[in-house]
Amino acid sequence: MKVHADFSALRRTKWYEYAIRFLFGGIVTAITGMIAKKFGPQVGGLFLAFPAIFPATATLLEKHEKQKKERKGLNGTKRGRLVAGVDAAGAAMGAGGLIVFALIVWKLLPGRSGSMVLAGATLAWVIVAVSIWAAVEKLRQLQRRHRTRRITTKVHS
């Protein structure tokens, strides 16, 4: 499947689901600041990569997939959980980009323009995360092709 945007997904999300994510994001950012104030930036920094929004997103995704199947008269529990698992695989790839983001900010921030470093690090996050995703997709395609070829050879022999 090619990467594309489906804006109808925005209409399926209810107002309180947006509110939950806003709340989660706000609370974690505020707590991170408080931890850094109390225990110093060395401890507070850890929480800049805390999985703040992931549990809420995975739960909403599971719920939406389940409802989609149920509208067709099917039990969508398994499908919902599978999609949440696939979403976690994407998050693991995104985390690769997050490591690069942190390394760039750590190494380049002193002595340079703060907004430029943050913008550059965000761009690096996009490039690294998408590259990891593309490499994994390519690998999966090759594996699938190899498996199909093996089955075809077995059938013919």
Binding site: M1, V3, H4, A5, D6, A9, L10, F22, G25, G26, V28, T29, A30, T32, G33, M34, P41, Q42, V43, G44, G45, L46, L48, A49, P51, A52, I53, F54, P55, A58, T59, L61, R81, L82, V83, G85, V86, D87, A88, A89, G90, A91, A92, G94, G97, L98, I99, F101, A102, L103, V105, W106, L109, P110, G114, L118, A121, T122, W125, V130
Partner: protein, 112 residues
């Protein structure tokens, strides 16, 4: 007042990345936005403004450990979800212990 500003900025940035995650398909690609530097962008920007760049750089150094912990966390959630198919809420919340153990382990060994 400062906490309120932090919460507002954090909420807005996190929501923006979550919207991107909602819109994109396939879901494996959309999942990338689950690990977007949303909290980091909000917090580092505010830390730079109030405490200076060196303070923010120190936070970013520790963030490397947190990000490695996030990678381990997301990978574990993925494996558990695909293999045993538990509820996403239970699995993602219970696995935060994995993030804590990895992050603080790295902090003790490397970042302290």
């Amino acid at each position: 007042m400062e906490i309120l500003i932090r919460a507002l900025v954090g909420g807005v940035v996190v929501s923006a990345f979550a919207l991107l995650g909602d819109v994109f398909l396939p879901k494996r690609f959309a999942g990338l936005f689950g690990a977007a530097p949303a909290v980091a962008l909000a917090s580092l920007g505010l830390a730079m403004a109030s405490n200076g760049k060196l303070y923010a750089a120190l936070e970013a150094r520790s963030m490397v450990g947190g990000a490695i912990a996030f990678l381990v966390y997301a990978y574990c959630v993925c494996v558990i979800m695909l293999k045993y198919k538990p509820s996403a809420l239970v699995c993602s919340l219970a696995s935060i212990t994995i993030w804590c153990a990895t992050a603080f382990g790295l902090w003790m060994l490397w970042l302290r």
